[in-house]
């Protein structure tokens, strides 16, 4: 299919002449065919010896390697996901709590704003060596670093959402005699739910990333450690298999959060 330079201008040409179901099937077919073609081409290139199998193993070799590392990889993945879960809960609790606090208290927000922005923008990798120095090896530095990694996007988004809650709603609620806790429970919380969910969706990737980075930098267990030791041992098929496993796991986690998000927003009656 030839790319059309002005496809956006004429959205109702060929795709719309098909029914939505046909279009979806068509898209799925293209996706499946492309992935199959990619894997086949990769297999062919590897078999033909155009690439060094030491660095780029064929998909079939990767699949076999998966059987070899399966048990260790799943153990590592479990370890990583456990640390991620702890860090994620901490990041969400601190981020949402701090966001509600900073969002409601204007003076506090203005006073701390430059510090929060600076910490949010600063690449956390620079403090990683210090955190490892401080907490040693093991699960603690991973949880701490991942929490720091995940908390700032959540904090910044929730702060903004609380700050932008419709003033009129608050005024009306107060006029009708709402108490402070009712104001938060009945007005602020429902208003910020979409942002909190979006922030949680963002935070999980940050937390997982943080755990993996620490495990690669100074790990003795977990998927990051598995990946970096496979790379150091030049075990390319096993490395590719392990990479595919973590990628699949994180895609599944994020897509299920997305699905949950959709459910919740349908339930709230937003489209």
């Amino acid at each position: 299919m030839k790319p059309r330079a002005l496809g956006a201008a004429r959205p109702r040409r060929d795709p719309a002449s098909r029914t939505p179901l046909q279009l979806t099937l068509h898209v799925r077919a293209v996706q499946a065919l492309s992935i199959a073609a990619l894997l086949l081409a990769w297999e062919g290139v590897a078999r033909a010896g155009w690439v060094d199998p030491l660095f780029v193993p064929a998909p079939s070799a990767v699949a076999r390697a998966f059987g070899r590392i399966g048990r260790a990889a799943f153990a590592g993945l479990g370890d990583t996901l456990l640390k991620t879960a702890i860090a994620y809960v901490l990041a969400v609790v601190i981020g949402v709590g701090g966001g509600i606090l900073l969002g409601s208290v204007r003076g506090l927000r203005q006073a701390t704003n430059p510090f929060v922005v600076a910490l949010y923008g600063m690449p956390k990798i620079l403090v990683l060596p210090w955190i490892v120095l401080f907490f040693g090896f093991g699960a603690t530095p991973a949880v701490v670093y991942a929490t720091i990694h995940g908390v700032f996007p959540i904090l910044v988004l929730v702060t903004g959402a609380v700050r932008d809650v419709d003033r009129n709603l608050l005024t009306v609620a107060r006029a009708f005699g709402a108490r402070r806790w009712q104001l938060y429970w009945k007005v602020v919380l429902p208003a910020i739910v979409p942002t909190v969910l979006a922030a949680m969706r963002l935070g999980i990737v940050f937390c997982l990333l943080g755990v993996l980075v620490v495990e690669m930098f100074a790990g003795v267990r977990g998927m990051g450690y598995v990946l970096s030791s496979l790379a150091n041992g030049f075990q390319a098929p096993e490395l590719f298999a392990a990479t595919a496993l973590v990628s699949a796991a994180s895609i599944v986690i994020v897509l299920s959060l997305d699905a949950l998000n959709d459910r919740l927003s349908q339930w709230r009656g937003e489209s």
Binding site: M1, P123, L209, S250, V254
Partner: protein, 248 residues
């Protein structure tokens, strides 16, 4: 005015607390500002790391190459996906799913493939910068009003003119924002790559100082790297501001 004073007070209190803790606690872990500043001085006069300039220059070059590649590939992919509905609908979700993978999982494979030198850092910086640029192009194209394009075509604009006069200005704001995010992530990618395994570059110096428990030097190196990062983002910010004014 008052708020600035409060912010300054918070900063002073933080530095003061750091100084007090740093003086009393384990000097391997805590370096008070009064010790970190001289270390920064030694670093800047090239006493503690005489080849600082080379490492800084290497990191800077890695960032520039990775960013140039990320812009080229990101724009190409973004426009290919954005202007072709079938391609966009087929590959857009795949791209979004890949974006949900914490990028660092690719790094060991890149290190295996490209080795410990600059190439693996460039590849990782490229990978991190590529996604936000591509996604910004896609989002930008979706923002362009179809009516404007129809009108432009009706008045006889050819495709190139319509693209230049309608599509590009309408999406520029989003595009430039994506380019700025892309730069920030490219910088992070290069530095993460260097910290996780390298023989030269700022990340390797940071690792070296950390490995030898030279905590004061480590802090000084972090400060220098931060200046590099903040500087690059400031330049990107100025460009973003210019583009913003141009579209208004």
């Amino acid at each position: 005015m008052k708020i600035v004073a409060i912010r300054a007070a918070i900063l002073v209190v933080l530095l003061g607390a750091w100084e007090i803790v740093g003086r009393t606690a384990n000097p391997l872990l805590y370096v008070p500002p009064s010790a970190a500043l001289p270390a920064l001085g030694h670093l800047l006069v090239l006493e503690s790391y005489p080849d600082l300039g080379q490492h800084l220059w290497l990191t800077l070059r890695e960032i520039l190459v990775a960013y140039a590649l990320a812009i080229a590939a990101g724009l190409a992919c973004g426009f290919a996906l954005g202007f072709n509905r079938l391609v966009g609908r087929a590959y857009g979700p795949i791209l979004a799913a890949l974006y949900a993978v914490p990028a660092v999982v690719w790094y060991p494979s890149l290190m295996l493939f490209f080795g410990l030198d600059a190439a693996s850092k460039i590849a990782f910086g490229f990978l991190l910068g590529f996604f936000p640029i591509t996604l910004a192009v896609l989002a930008g194209i979706r923002q362009v009003s179809p009516q404007l394009l129809v009108v432009a075509r009706a008045f006889g604009a050819d495709r190139l003119t319509a693209f230049r006069k309608v599509t590009l200005p309408a999406m520029l704001f989003t595009l430039v924002g994506g380019l700025r995010t892309g730069l920030a992530l490219t910088v992070v990618g290069v530095i993460v790559g260097e910290v996780l395994g390298s023989r030269s570059g700022m990340g390797s110096l940071i690792n070296h100082a950390y490995g030898l428990f030279r905590t004061a030097d480590y802090i000084a190196l972090v400060v220098v790297t931060l200046v590099l990062i903040v500087g690059s983002d400031a330049i990107a910010g100025v460009i973003e501001h210019r583009a913003q004014r141009w579209t208004e």
